[in-house]
Symmetry: C2
Subunit: 183 residues, 2 copies
C-alpha cells in the first residue's frame, strides 16, 4: 500500500493508531485507517450418487491438478452462495448445500476456508475457463497423487473417514509446505 | 475508493475486469485490480461453571448494552486465536476453545461470524476501554432485553437449546432490522 485510497496522499504511515495495538496504514492527511483482514475461501465437496466431483485446474497455481471448486467469497454473498457460485463457475454443475463440512485456516496466507458438502442435482458438468476437465470420481479412483492442494486432500480424507459427519475439522490447517520448509 | 493505493492514480474505474464477471475498482494506469471481500468476525461464547460471560459495551454501536466478546479477525491469526484475543481485549478473561459453536453471515454488511464456545480458566475478568463491565450471568439472569445485537441473542439461544451441540447454525443470519425495515 503506497497511497491513501481515500485522499491520494503518498505520506501513509505504518503505525499503531491511538487506542489500537496493531500497526496499520494510517493517512496523516485525511486520518483514514486502512485495515487489512483475512479473506474467506468458500468451497464445495460436491457428491453425486456416491461419486465426488473434482475439477482439473486450467489456471495456476497448480494448473493440471485436481481440486474442489472453491474461491474467494464476494461482498454481498453468504458463504453458501459463494460455494455454489464457485461450483458452477468452475464446473458448470449445480447442487444444494447439505451442511458445512470443514472449516480451517491458513493464517500465513490470511485465509479461512469454509467447505460445504453439496448434493449435485445431476451429473451435468463441463469445462470452463477455470477448469480443463470436470469429472465424477468413484472413491477408489480419486487421483490422490494429482490433487492440487493439500487442503483439498485434507477435506476429502476427512469426508471419507465419516461421510455423515457435519463438521470434520476446526482450527488451523497446517499447510504441508509449512511443515516441509519449517516456515 | 477514490485513488489507486498502488500508484496514486485518481482515474480508477469501476468495471468488470477481463475474464471476471463482477465490477471491481481497476486502475487504468498500473492495471491493479482492487478486490473487496467480506470480513470475518471471530467471537466467543465464554462459559464458567455454567455461567455465561457477557460484556457491557463501552463503545458505540450499542454502547451500554451486553454482548459476547467478538471482533474483526486480523491478518496472520486463526479464527480461534482471534476469538481468544477479543475475549481478553474486551473482558481481560482467558479461556480455551472448546469447539466452533455457530457460523452465520450478514451479507448485507459483508460479514461472516465464527463464534467459538470457550471454557474460561477462571472467573477473573475486568473492565477495559471496550467494556464498561464484564459479568458472569446465570442462565436465568441473562439480560435478554439489553443484549446489544440480535446475533448475540441468536448465539445464546442456540447454545441454551443444546449446550453440547457442536454446530448450532449454518447459513445466513437474518438481521432483525432487515426484517423490520424490509431491506
Amino acid at each position: 500500500m503506497n497511497f491513501c485510497s481515500n485522499c491520494g496522499s503518498n505520506q501513509l504511515q505504518f503505525i499503531v493508531p491511538e487506542g489500537d495495538n496493531k500497526q496499520r496504514f494510517v493517512c496523516p492527511d485525511c486520518d483514514t485507517i486502512h485495515y487489512q483482514n483475512p479473506r474467506i475461501i468458500a468451497g464445495c465437496l460436491p457428491v453425486f450418487e456416491g461419486k465426488i466431483l473434482l475439477g482439473k485446474r486450467a489456471i495456476d497455481p497448480r494448473k493440471g491438478y485436481w481440486g474442489l471448486p472453491a474461491g474467494f467469497l464476494e461482498n454481498g454473498e453468504t458463504p453458501e452462495e459463494g460455494a455454489l457460485r464457485e461450483l458452477h463457475e468452475e464446473t458448470l454443475a449445480k447442487g444444494h448445500i447439505k451442511h458445512l463440512q470443514s472449516v480451517f485456516s491458513l493464517p500465513q496466507f490470511n485465509q479461512v476456508y469454509l467447505i460445504y458438502l453439496v448434493d449435485l442435482i445431476s451429473d451435468e458438468m463441463g469445462t470452463t475457463s477455470e477448469t480443463l476437465e470436470s469429472k465424477l470420481f468413484e472413491v477408489k479412483d480419486i487421483p490422490w497423487e494429482d490433487i492440487a492442494f493439500e487442503s483439498t486432500t485434507f477435506a476429502l480424507e476427512e469426508y471419507l473417514k465419516n461421510p455423515e459427519a457435519k463438521m470434520t475439522k476446526r482450527g488451523h490447517f497446517i499447510w504441508e509446505k509449512e511443515k516441509r520448509f519449517g516456515i
